[in-house]
């Protein structure tokens, strides 16, 4: 997709290594852009190595992992410590959202484990409003 980006370090949007869904990423790209942030959209099926390398290279203001295929939990728990292990990404805001497991239950336990793995915030599939609010706040933080 065409992208004319505002300047500055980007919001990195990425699918997980096993998730081939695209529309969630296209939508998030438009939404994040409309809220005034430059976007680097890595697309679907992003291998862990590529995600870590691109984040280390661009120093993102926020990393958004979006996943809807039901394997998101397992993929995310694996990759988050790898991101956190990079010194330059240790303090980067890292969030994940979407459909995180193939069973709806056990969400709270999943959330705790994702946070323990290194995520700052876990958005369940119904929490996009909260995500947009957090993005709007992030913008204020950057502007001031």
């Amino acid at each position: 997709m065409m992208m004319s980006s505002p300047s500055g370090e980007p919001v990195v949007i990425s699918g997980t290594s096993s998730d081939s869904h695209t529309w969630n990423l296209v939508y998030l790209q438009l939404l994040v852009r409309e809220l005034g942030h430059p976007v680097l959209n890595l697309g679907p099926c992003v291998p862990d190595d590529l995600l870590v390398a691109e984040c280390a290279r661009t120093g993102p203001r926020l990393v958004v992992i979006s996943t809807v295929n039901g394997h998101g939990y397992a993929d995310a728990v694996r990759v988050a410590p790898r991101l956190r292990a990079r010194r330059e990404l240790a303090g980067t805001r890292l969030v994940i959202g979407g459909k995180l497991g193939i069973h709806g239950a056990a969400a709270a336990r999943r959330r705790d484990q994702l946070v323990a793995a290194g995520f700052d915030r876990v958005y369940e599939e119904t929490e996009l409003a909260a995500f947009a609010d957090d993005l709007a706040r992030l913008r204020v933080g950057v502007a001031s």
Binding site: M1, G36, A74
Partner: protein
């Protein structure tokens, strides 16, 4: 006739039976076996499916093995991990000449999958060098072409191998049919050039039934020309985009896909289930879907054996693409990467690095999928929306177009009403508490969304003026300041200006001047700017601006019914005019004209305030019986509504002194609001006016106003003004409703959101 999968389908087609097939894959072998058996037992002509899990698809066999070892369920059948013996036990006694089984996966590097499949005797699969690379993988296209060339060579060693192209799906939705047809044909030709003799060409149902039929006919015509001597058939996929969430909507969409398949001369249909929007469907849900699809197919008349030779837009564009691509090289394998580099092939919204991303698509006002920008495609579409990129809201509206249509919902509603998007996407838009606010003025003014909205607003103004002038109304230019103004309600404050040492007010509404102007004209209107310092809490309602405009109308001697009827006619006229003149802008904003169909059928329903309160109580909303209906309550009713409706007879305390009290029902006012559906809320507020001096003074005192401040107005009323009725229609709210935008600030060039300091 060919043996194997292709031969089975050809025999069913010759017998006039549509083959129906599920998408079904389970990681547990017993469940997988039960699913195949249940599919076989459906009273219809079925074929079985093994859909693989997503670890296997990306060749992460270690992850699939690990999940199996840990007992973590996978989202499909891990054929490589299980190996041929295990898979043979799953198929044993089920797969036979009368029940072929196909492997469905989605891999851009499927050699191991195909080897594992062939080892288990499974020689039917699906995929393609483009369709399993671009949407689902980061692999360079040239690598995917090499992998699929290798895979096709492996498959071609099996005597009855069959491959189905997945090129007719491409991201599931919003890819224009001509590109789907072209890619499906090109992938089919790719397989044939690698020695396969039996292929099927897919086409995924899109948004318009007639256009889809044209597409399948075009696909059959191109296949007949380009695949002579090859066993081929067309397979239709039931809608692959966001699926309806209601059982009736899901069933209706499935039924329409079965009719599409039969009417257009396809031979096979891959179904979706009622559970599709929420989760992986059960075996029973798959059986239900197969049964229903077969029943509908049996009751539908088949297309002629020869494809329709009409030169439809789909056919013309698809043929232009295929011809241009084939002209690039001797083989499809060589031509495909070049075609993507040149932008002859370009898939809208596809994020793959090898996709040009210059072509975009949209749903046009008639509900067809069309090119919005054609980039370097080898044909020119009519310039539709050049330069206007999609917005997130517009994208969601287009993505949920079919879902909403089949669920019987307005095509786009207020954001709070947006569906939880199904398993394809599973996200919702910001709710009503989102702090989504205007960007900087230059960014806002330059935004294609703002420009489209303002063009729509221009048509609103043109339509309103010509309608009212045609009805004998005189447009007067409203004053901006005065010693007093409409005292208003709902907590908004007036703003002062220093006028030669006098404290004057900016107009909160033109009501006092409208009544005065009746001394000059019987029928008049303003297009009036109003300023109300609304409470800061309203900055999130999405429908409040501190500075806004009203189409403010007054009729001398009119009754409430006259004013209501006029508001209704005005709204219908404006909507008709905008649909006629601003269709491209609405389409670019993702607004589906279908939402206005109910509105255009006047008259609107009428509820009294008491009935509206009762309706809210039924919805467990704590609305006071003797007060203004609160924002949230009004929005709730608006969401529940299918068409606009009036609320009449508000209690006396809730509105200004100029709204006439009902002599037959003291305590209620002869007034009305017009609420539009979809969560957009109140659009019009009006009433029969009080014109009696003593009553006005009394009412002023009751509402806490000091009559002494209103001296010029009361002097005039004492000398006599005509009785009247009138209303104000919010211009920005109307434009927001027409454009379907999230917030009213998006339709104002210089938005002042309550509480925010803005230029």
């Amino acid at each position: 006739m060919t043996a194997g999968f292709g031969g089975f389908v050809a025999r069913a087609r010759a017998a006039g039976r549509l083959v129906v097939q599920p998408r079904m894959g389970f990681s547990d072998t017993a469940t997988m076996r039960a699913g195949l058996l249940a599919t076989k037992r459906v009273p219809a002509t079925t074929v079985g499916t093994l859909t693989l899990d997503s670890y296997t698809r990306v060749n992460d066999i270690a992850a699939a093995d690990h999940a199996l070892a840990e007992g973590i369920p996978l989202n499909g059948y891990p054929i490589v991990s299980y190996g041929p013996e295990r898979t043979a036990t799953v198929l044993d006694g089920i797969r036979d000449a009368g029940f072929p089984v196909q492997v469905r996966h989605g891999s851009a590097r499927p050699q191991d999958i195909v080897r594992a499949s062939l080892a288990a005797g499974l020689d039917a699969t699906e995929g393609g060098p483009v369709s399993y690379c671009l949407p689902y993988s980061r692999m360079p296209l040239t690598d995917a072409v090499r992998n699929w060339s290798h895979t096709a060579d492996i498959l071609a060693t099996a005597p009855n191998a069959h491959v189905e192209t997945f090129g007719g799906c491409m991201l599931g939705q919003l890819c224009p049919p001509s590109m789907l047809v072209a890619l499906s044909v090109l992938e089919g030709l790719f397989f044939v050039q690698h020695g396969l003799r039996s292929v099927s060409l897919s086409y995924a149902q899109q948004v318009d039934a007639e256009q889809d039929e044209e597409a399948v006919h075009a696909l059959r015509r191109l296949a007949a020309d380009l695949l002579p001597g090859v066993d081929w058939h067309v397979v239709v996929y039931t809608y692959m985009g966001l699926y309806p969430t209601t059982p009736h909507g899901a069933a209706a969409l499935l039924e329409s896909s079965a009719r599409l398949a039969v009417r257009s001369g396809a031979a096979r249909l891959i179904v979706k289930t009622a559970a599709e929007a929420r989760r992986i469907p059960t075996i029973a849900e798959n059986v239900d879907a197969l049964t229903l699809a077969a029943e509908v197919a049996a009751a539908t008349r088949w297309a002629d054996d020869e494809p329709d030779a009409a030169d439809t837009t789909v056919h013309t564009e698809a043929r232009a693409i295929v011809t241009a691509v084939l002209g690039l090289a001797h083989t499809v394998a060589e031509a495909l990467p070049a075609a993507f580099r040149l932008g002859y092939l370009d898939v809208p919204y596809c994020l793959h690095p090898d996709n040009a991303g210059r072509a975009t698509s949209e749903i046009d006002p008639t509900g067809r999928l069309r090119w919005a920008a054609t980039g370097s495609l080898p044909f020119r579409a009519r310039p539709a929306a050049a330069g206007r990129g999609p917005t997130s809201a517009g994208l969601l509206a287009a993505l949920s177009h079919t879902q909403r249509r089949f669920d019987g919902l307005p095509a786009t509603a207020g954001a709070a009403d947006r569906p939880v998007l199904g398993a394809q996407m599973t996200i919702t838009t910001p709710g009503p508490t989102s702090t989504y606010l205007p960007p900087s003025p230059p960014e806002h003014l330059a935004s294609p969304v703002t420009r489209a909205a303002l063009r729509v607003q221009q048509q609103v103004l043109t339509a309103a003026r010509s309608f009212l002038a045609g009805d004998g109304f005189i447009e007067l230019l409203p004053p901006v300041i005065g010693p007093v103004t409409d005292p208003g309600v709902r907590g908004s404050k007036q703003l002062d200006v220093d006028y030669y040492g006098h404290r004057y007010k900016l107009m909160t509404s033109g009501i006092l001047y409208k009544q005065a102007s009746l001394l000059a004209f019987d029928k008049l209107f303003f297009i009036a700017p109003n300023v109300r310092a609304e409470p800061v809490e309203t900055c999130n309602t999405r429908r409040h601006l501190a500075e806004f405009h009203q189409i403010d109308v007054e009729i001398s001697g009119g009754t409430r019914a006259d004013a209501r009827r006029l508001a209704e006619r005005l709204l219908v006229h404006v909507v008709r005019h905008v649909l006629r003149t601003a269709g491209d802008d609405l389409a670019a904003l993702g607004r589906d004209p279908v939402v206005f169909a109910e509105l255009l059928r006047e008259p609107f329903d009428v509820l009294t305030h008491a009935e509206a309160v009762a309706a809210l109580h039924d919805l467990q909303y704590p609305q006071s019986t003797d007060a203004e209906i609160e924002w949230e309550g009004e929005e709730l009713l608006s969401h529940k509504a299918r068409r606009p409706f009036f609320v009449t007879d508000y209690p006396k305390g809730s509105r200004g002194f100029y709204d006439r009290e009902n002599p037959e029902s003291p305590g209620t006012l002869r007034n009305f609001d017009l609420i539009v559906p979809g969560g957009y809320g109140e659009l019009v507020s009006g009433s029969e006016r009080e014109s009696d001096y003593a009553t006005i003074v009394t009412r002023m005192r009751e509402t806490g106003e000091n009559p002494a401040k209103y001296r010029w107005y009361l002097d005039m009323v004492r000398d006599g003004i005509p009785a009247s009725a009138g209303f104000g229609m919010g211009l920005e709210r109307l434009t927001r409703f027409l454009t379907g935008l999230d917030s009213v600030w998006q339709v104002n060039a210089y938005p002042k959101v309550p509480g925010l300091v803005a230029p």
